[in-house]
Symmetry: D2
Subunit: 149 residues, 4 copies
């Protein structure tokens, strides 16, 4: 019933970004708290978008309508980790990303997904993804089988 654990490697992601962990990423159990992975996701995605022309204060902004994560292995500050990013679907207004978190040895530690809908920053109504953003997203399209979370 439960899907098999994902076995993605860094090669399954067109973009790999190193992430610095922080002291307060660790919770009382001595590992990075489950919440913090989503801060990694948000950061990797938005840094990529900003590098490719998204304006934080622009007319079209991406808002998250869905996110999910499966946690496979613990990580802990002060580990240095990598995040892999790929795009699995691009619609008129929305895009679905998948993010893999890797330990420095290459083990997959978590796999998540994240759906952005682009909206007008004033009205919050969906808009067509701006052309420069769409091009950047298309460059991250992956033919890997979609993750299950």
């Amino acid at each position: 019933m439960k899907p098999a654990p994902p076995a993605d490697t860094r090669k399954d992601f067109p973009l790999i970004t190193e992430i610095q962990t922080r002291w307060d990423d660790n919770d009382v159990y001595g590992h990075v708290n489950n919440v913090v992975y989503y801060a990694y996701f948000d950061t990797v995605i938005n840094r990529y978008l900003i590098d490719h022309g998204l304006e934080i204060e622009g007319a079209a902004i991406g808002v998250c309508v869905e996110s999910a994560c499966r946690y496979l292995r613990e990580i802990a500050f002060p580990d240095r980790i990598d995040a892999g990013l790929r795009v699995t679907n691009i619609g008129r207004s929305s895009v679905r990303y998948e993010i893999g978190i890797f330990a420095s040895g290459g083990e997959l530690c978590a796999l998540g997904h994240f759906v952005h809908v682009f909206v007008d920053s004033a009205t919050r109504k969906p808009v067509t993804i701006p052309q420069n953003i769409r091009a950047a997203l298309t460059a991250l399209r992956s033919s890997s089988p979609a993750a299950q979370p």
Copy 2:
């Protein structure tokens, strides 16, 4: 293809807890950042478990192996919000929760799920859910249809 938006109300959750938002819950878009909802989930679940006998430094601890959230309406500091909590599955070692976030007027703003596996705090191997915790979880069992995220 996409599941219909959930329409749960506070009555669909055996436990309702008020949550205080914080200034830094809001991100640059002036609403509670998607990451923060998971901090609400973690807090509501763990407060309930601690109130019912979970010892943070005990032999059996709950670690998150999966979480997800669908975001339906924006909320923003300084809103006061409610979190509803229910349990949809209890196994030997694991439990699946669903959490609804409600605006003060009762509108469902987000619906998520969260899976805990109870493990030995030293070896991190799964253990049977302790009896007092199981009883507390059973009290939150809900016959509502499982949410789809």
Copy 3:
């Protein structure tokens, strides 16, 4: 050389607000991380200002130019705590707050200060504190001896 530990009580603060701790406020040492106290400060101050007319997206916004905290006793999630707020100085553009964090039994756990400068939200140049905000701040003036941090 070191100033004597402060001995303020809840009576030394014109405003007392209850604060909910969160699971991820605790760090690996099992107590609320030093960073999180500043999130409490920010929240208590801004909630008060918003309740008294500050518009988050308004023309005049308060930006923090200085903050400090002395940590006296540990607190930990799921403690319920109180924050006391008082104003010790009001200038043309700036205001200095002091915040006390109290355990439920009334013990002072931390004492901090926080300085806001009100600026034009577009130019970020200092402006005169708006009249409605000044009135609200004046209501929190305290004749208690200023704390030393």
Copy 4:
């Protein structure tokens, strides 16, 4: 009365560490929230200590008894910034650090201090700073005039 704004440069700090900003470091005003600087401080200090032998789960742990920050210029995600670290006092049990946050162009954006007391992790009573930690701290001693916050 107010001390002159500090004018430290990166050369005034024996250790410089690059820090990655995160999406959720920015608050509604589009800049790194005042709280987050303390997460940077905690991270830089603890990474250094761990690199030099501090064991997070060891017998002697450093707990923060005082911290402060003066904010001089705004920074914002996705800026890459540097943190400078120096030690200004080492006692039997305690150490006082100063941290400078620098923009990529070298401008000083914030200057803070942070005091650790080393305590027994079980009893939380002060202990003598372990020899390997003391040696590492001594290597960061600075003769620069102490900052004023």
